[in-house]
């Protein structure tokens, strides 16, 4: 981006921040970090009030804005030990790694479906977090963040949070231990029921769904009446209602167990367990895309489309010239591109800004 383009982006950012709904609970206890070259060029900053923070964003328009999940007595203190740790939100970062600048976007739907599962099955189901104690945020680029602001989790330390990461990622999951043999005669294969919580219940539910959809999951010769008999057994915790050897039943369901964890939780970034990490400020703009890291209404999460719902509201038309080949994308529910190097096009501000910030185009 040249100076002119940076100025253009700054003006868009500044205009947006004037009215943006940025609500950070206990803002005075948070550490902030800002970046223009890297995602975080400077950190250990703090703000006393929401207005003070807004003023900073409007005047300085950093490309990347992050805050700590942690609460501190002295958020701008250095080194970290001097900050006086008071607790931290529990944050999950779902991210996708893909080849090239644009590779991740076709996988965003898959990450979103992981986010929905993580939210509903794990966070609200297993962990019992209430809707009012959490927010779901589009990361502004390749994934989603879930911030849990439930008092119960606030005092958990890194290792304890790591346990939660292991839990959702299925590290150490041994579904074979869900099963046991009864001491009755004839012996029965006892297993989880769909009414149970956690992985056990999910495994039973997913098995029922899978065998209904594709009976060959368990046996190629399973007829419909036998199938329902088998399913009825699972509902009662009796997995024996089939002529298949018990060991084979367990073995054939291994693939189902592998689908249960949420694999796109980003453990590299470690934001869940590393209490010193910073996370993008909800409703701030992501400097690599110009997308708003939008707080999403949970009821609309499944329909959320960043290429429509995370765009800043600026209808001005901006002409750009592409500096490289760019694949087809869908903005505002319409196909845009693909483009070849040297192509010239004109779009509304957020779309042009997207290509400029990705260094795929220059202003004309």
């Amino acid at each position: 981006m040249d100076q002119n383009e940076r100025k253009f982006a700054s003006e868009v950012f500044s205009e947006y921040y004037k009215g943006a709904k940025i609500e950070i609970p206990k803002i005075e206890q948070r550490e902030f970090g800002f970046g223009n070259i890297k995602k975080i060029d400077a950190r250990h900053l703090s703000f006393g009030t929401r207005e003070e923070f807004r003023k900073y964003l409007v005047n300085n328009t950093p490309l990347f804005v992050s805050h700590s999940a942690s609460y501190y007595e002295f958020p701008s203190g250095t080194p970290m030990v001097r900050k006086g740790f008071l607790g931290a939100d529990l944050v999950f970062d779902l991210d996708i790694h893909a080849e090239g600048k644009y590779g991740a976007y076709e996988k965003l739907e898959a990450v979103k479906s992981d986010a929905v599962r993580l939210l509903k099955d794990f966070i609200m189901g297993d962990f019992g977090v209430k809707k009012e104690n959490l927010i779901v945020v589009f990361s502004g680029n390749r994934g989603y963040h879930i911030h849990i602001r439930d008092e119960r989790f606030r005092s958990l330390m890194g290792e304890e949070r790591r346990e939660l990461v292991d839990y959702v990622m299925g590290n150490g999951l041994n579904y074979r231990e869900f099963f046991s043999l009864s001491d009755t005669k004839p012996q029965r294969l006892l297993g989880p029921t769909p009414s149970e919580g956690g992985y056990r219940g999910r495994f039973a539910k997913e098995t029922i769904r899978a065998v209904r959809e594709k009976p060959s999951t368990i046996s190629k010769t399973l007829k419909e009446d036998k199938l329902e008999f088998f399913i009825k057994g699972i509902e009662e915790g009796n997995w024996s209602r089939t002529s298949i050897a018990y060991e084979d039943v367990i073995k054939r369901l291994g693939a189902i167990a592998q689908t249960l964890p949420v694999s796109s939780v980003d453990t590299d970034a470690g934001v869940t367990q590393d209490l010193s990490k910073l996370i993008r400020v909800p409703n701030s703009i992501h400097g690599e895309t110009g997308f708003i890291a939008r707080v999403i209404d949970i009821a609309n999460l499944e329909n959320f489309d960043p290429f429509n719902d995370a765009l800043v509201n600026d209808k001005k038309s901006i002409k750009i010239e592409f500096l490289e080949d760019v694949p087809e994308l869908r903005f505002r529910k319409e196909t845009v591109g693909k483009f070849k190097k040297g192509d010239i096009a004109e779009f509304e501000t957020p779309i042009s800004m997207f290509y400029l910030l990705k260094s795929s185009a220059k202003m004309r």
Binding site: F127, R152, S155, L156, E160, D166, N171, G172, N174, G197
Partner: protein, 314 residues
């Protein structure tokens, strides 16, 4: 249980304070405190029979005095050993007392449970904060619904034991105690064997998970069973001698030379090999994305790749 007996058995409780508030640090109490620290260093899990009210009060005071000595000494090795032993002794008490009293001790640490007649139910955060980091206590192997989970009565006691250990380990710094405390601290310090390990703990010599365990041992962290087993199989796998492994383990708060040597011997005799990275992950000990399959493959990596992994794990 009578108030004084409760305070004697669990001297970290709030109630214990009222028995020692007016008590002076006298020669006898200091001697008991020194014995108590020595008992901690040796890992002797034995209780002391106390009969008179005065003996009990002195015993409670000796706990506070021992903490004062340790707070001045600032030796994490001794402090952690003391904490492990005291928590194990408290655990032996927990195994003997009635459920209601166990509940009372649990409440000190926020470990409250509901007994629905069939199961003991605990909040998952209370469980996470106080469970030992071992495979048996991994959340994934539990029935977890709505933030609550089932535990066994013995597990509840184990959680309390862990909470006691953690509480005792945190000792505030005592800068300028009375002369008698300083003298007692010198006597304890003189008993500390000066250990020196021969394996160089240089981060890029070992995978990040092993480096973390070696640093943990050096800092007298009470590593769990899986961590000790993994570390021993790894060190055996890279041909570190039994003596050197024992030296590394001698920094652990509950070190026992005989048991350590026996366990290393068993690892060699039974041919236990270093677990794969997948297994290490199930132990909850993986802390980086190395993608090397086996921790032993670390030594086949280029220097640049090692650095890349180490930087990524920070």
């Amino acid at each position: 249980m009578e108030e004084l007996d409760f305070a004697t058995a669990f001297p970290f409780s709030e109630g214990a304070k009222k028995y020692i508030s007016n008590s002076l640090i006298n020669e006898k109490v200091i001697e008991i405190a020194i014995e108590r620290i020595k008992r901690g260093m040796a890992g002797e899990i034995r209780t002391t029979a106390l009969f008179s009210e005065n003996d009990k009060i002195e015993w409670i005071a000796s706990f506070a005095t021992a903490r004062m000595i340790l707070g001045f000494l600032k030796n994490s090795n001794i402090t952690n050993r003391f904490a492990v032993t005291e928590s194990k002794i408290a655990r032996s008490m927990l195994d003997k007392i009635d459920e209601k009293t166990v509940e009372r001790v649990g409440e000190i640490f926020g470990i409250t449970t509901i007994n629905d007649g069939k199961n003991i139910i605990i909040d998952m955060c209370a469980f996470l904060k106080n469970s030992p980091r071992s495979i048996d206590y991994k959340l994934i192997n539990r029935k977890l619904t709505g933030g609550r989970m089932e535990i066994k009565a013995s597990e509840k006691r184990r959680l309390i034991e862990e909470a006691i250990r953690k509480r005792i380990e945190i000792i505030p710094l005592v800068k300028d105690p009375p002369q008698e405390i300083k003298a007692a601290a010198s006597r304890i310090d003189a008993l500390v064997p000066k250990s020196s390990t021969t394996v160089v703990i240089k981060v890029d010599n070992h995978p990040p998970c092993i480096a973390k365990l070696l640093e943990g041992a050096k800092n007298h962290i009470n590593l769990n069973h899986q961590a000790r087993f993994y570390l021993a199989t790894y060190l055996t796998g890279i041909n570190v001698s039994e003596d050197d492994i024992t030296k590394i383990y001698s920094d652990l708060p509950d070190f026992n030379d005989r048991i350590t040597r026996y366990q290393i011997g068993q690892i060699k005799k039974k041919g236990y090999t270093t677990p794969s990275c997948a297994t290490v992950m199930t132990y909850g000990l993986c802390c980086a994305v190395c993608k090397i399959g086996s921790p032993l493959n670390w030594h086949k990596l280029s220097k640049d790749r090692k650095e890349e992994i180490i930087n990524g794990s920070k």
